[in-house]
């Protein structure tokens, strides 16, 4: 019996879906020093912070691509850092991961990318797999790209195809690593709406690593802000928006100013814009 399914009923009641406590990891310098996060079932957490503050490292710790130097990560009450290889595989099959560039396998078509996941993790017939592939691609509006090679796709399409591949196995937790980085504002906005739509339709919990504030405000229920390897804020998006803390105000203002500059909304000399009301999470 599946380890996680076996514990699912009681775990769903007794534990948060994911709970990471006091995580620390160092490479040639400390990256995370003391970070704790909690994600409940169906909840979306945004992890914000400057580049190089360990946001992506945090995601890789959750799926055991890296091991923490100290701290614990509990998924449905099971300590991820102490799982056997077999149980780690089970855990990973329940978690979807959208990489920055989509990470599509470039020797396969978009459809084969999705089919590869289904083939390895399910006993579905060819016809059933085809139906699931088309359904997943339709969710990300890429049904017509099913036979295209990754090299034929734009950056935004690659991310959408990667997203379709991640959700085709119906994960319980989705991890997004910079889902809108490198995209133009319109495509970034459409990706954010897509993430929100998938969460609403599939009810999966998510962790979204980003430094794109509008994306965070669009998709997330709560946010954690990392700075110098420590979580300097943990709370609801509304609390972040109205925080009087100087670091958070500076961070929010700088992020918004940079975005507005990119979109040509503000004169470059204008400082400290307020966060627009429309940036709040869509109902």
């Amino acid at each position: 019996m599946n380890l996680f399914h076996r514990h699912e009923k009681e775990a769903t009641r007794e534990y948060p879906l994911l709970q990471a406590d006091h995580l620390a990891i160092a490479f040639d310098r400390p990256v995370l020093r003391d970070v704790s996060i909690t994600v409940d079932h169906g909840e979306t957490l945004a992890v914000l912070g400057k580049s190089g503050t360990g946001k992506s490292v945090l995601l890789k710790l959750i799926v055991s691509l890296l091991s923490p130097d100290s701290g614990s990560i509990l998924y449905k009450g099971n300590d991820v850092t102490r799982l056997t290889e077999e149980h780690l595989m089970e855990l990973r099959s329940e978690i979807g991961f959208l990489f920055q560039g989509g990470a599509l396998f470039d020797s396969m078509t978009v459809g084969q990318n999705l089919d590869f996941f289904l083939l390895k993790h399910t006993d579905l017939s060819i016809q059933e797999r085809e139906e699931k592939i088309v359904e997943a691609l339709e969710m990300v509006a890429l049904a017509d790209a099913i036979d295209k090679m990754p090299s034929e796709l734009s950056g935004g399409m690659k991310k959408r195809a990667g997203l379709a591949r991640s959700i085709v196995l119906e994960p319980e937790l989705m991890l997004y690593d910079e889902p809108t980085t490198g995209l133009d504002p319109l495509t970034a906005s459409s990706i954010a709406e897509l993430i929100l739509g998938l969460q609403t339709r599939l009810g999966i919990a998510s962790i979204v690593v980003t430094h794109d504030l509008p994306t965070a405000f669009t998709v997330a229920d709560r946010a954690v802000i990392l700075n110098e390897g420590v979580a300097v804020f943990s709370g609801k998006m509304e609390e972040l928006e109205h925080s009087e803390d100087k670091f958070l105000r500076d961070y929010l203002s700088a992020s918004q100013l940079n975005r507005n500059r990119r979109e040509g909304i503000l004169h470059p000399t204008q400082r400290m814009p307020t966060i627009p009301e429309s940036a709040g999470r869509a109902a």
Binding site: R29, R33, S51, G52, S56, R92, D106, F116, K236
Partner: protein, 289 residues
């Protein structure tokens, strides 16, 4: 209203450049660079290769295998190397015949040229030359391909999807190398003899029948089998080194190029060293006296 947690940390050492993700070091030291002790690098590399190769046997003991991917890799590694091996094979035979001919004539041993060429090609030249050339064509290619997959997080994507990238990417390539190398060596043996006969025909008008008879009279199983058998190990070496370098590649696109170079250098050196061992073993079992 949930509890807001706010605290500011003391400053850290200078951070990495924006967007630069620090990574845990992996055991894939460069053998082509000039920093550090050469012996330390080689010992670390051999240790890493040993662990990486041991995983191959662990995977071998756990079927099912990815047969479709093995066939795809056989096509990429074996079939697509045939044009290169064709040229190498014919040229080995032609050059060896042309080079040895004046000396053999001096000793009145012209009739032994076909046998000499056949024994030289089958025992040593075809297995070693084909393998060393494929270190560049195949070993570096595998390292570059897997290195690119590492740089674009495709290997990580397989890992987090519980798809066992070692089984799908590494095991299949090593198996394909172990199957393709002996077959390509047999093909090169054949073409070298054709090349040799072409030169003999040009210089002495020797018929193909006489050439074949001459070869058959002086070549036996012990000349042929060890030469082909050792290419299974050479194929294993090319596959393991190429996959190891690519799988553990770091440093983005620059790292991919370095992995490819290191794969070619390391595997060709290992093949030449392994060949000494195989020659000794061959002479122990089938050698004169």
């Amino acid at each position: 209203m949930s509890e807001i947690e706010l605290h500011h940390p003391p400053p850290l050492a200078p951070a990495a450049a924006p967007g630069e993700l620090p990574t845990k070091p992996v055991i894939a030291p460069s053998v082509s660079g000039d920093d550090g002790s050469v012996w330390t690098k080689w010992l670390t590399l051999l240790g890493g290769l040993w662990v990486f190769a041991a995983r191959f046997f662990k995977t071998l003991a756990r079927p099912p295998y990815e047969f479709r991917e093995i066939v795809r890799q056989l096509n990429a590694i074996g079939f697509r190397s045939m044009s290169l091996v064709t040229v190498v094979g014919v040229v080995i035979g032609m050059v060896l015949t042309m080079q040895s001919r004046p000396t053999m004539l001096k000793f009145g041993a012209e009739a032994f040229i076909p046998v000499m060429v056949a024994v030289s090609v089958m025992r040593e030249l075809a297995p070693v030359l084909v393998s060393v050339i494929l270190c560049g064509r195949v070993g570096a290619g595998i390292a570059a391909e897997l290195g690119s997959m590492r740089a674009t997080e495709q290997i990580d994507a397989m890992d987090v999807a519980a798809l066992d990238p070692y089984k799908f990417l590494v095991f299949t390539r090593i198996m394909a190398c172990m199957i393709a190398l002996p077959l390509l060596t047999i093909y090169a043996d054949f073409l070298a003899l054709i090349g040799s006969w072409m030169i003999e025909k040009l210089y002495s008008g020797m018929s193909i029948g006489l050439f074949i008879n001459s070869v058959q009279s002086g070549v036996d199983f012990s000349d042929y089998l060890p030469g082909v058998a050792k290419t299974i190990f050479f194929g294993f070496t090319i596959g393991v080194v190429g996959c190891f370098e690519g799988y553990n590649s770091k440093g983005g696109t620059e790292g991919v190029g370095k992995s490819a170079t290191d794969a070619a250098v390391t595997s060709s050196l290992l093949i030449i060293l392994l060949d000494v061992l195989f020659v000794k073993l061959t002479l122990m079992f089938w050698g004169p006296g």
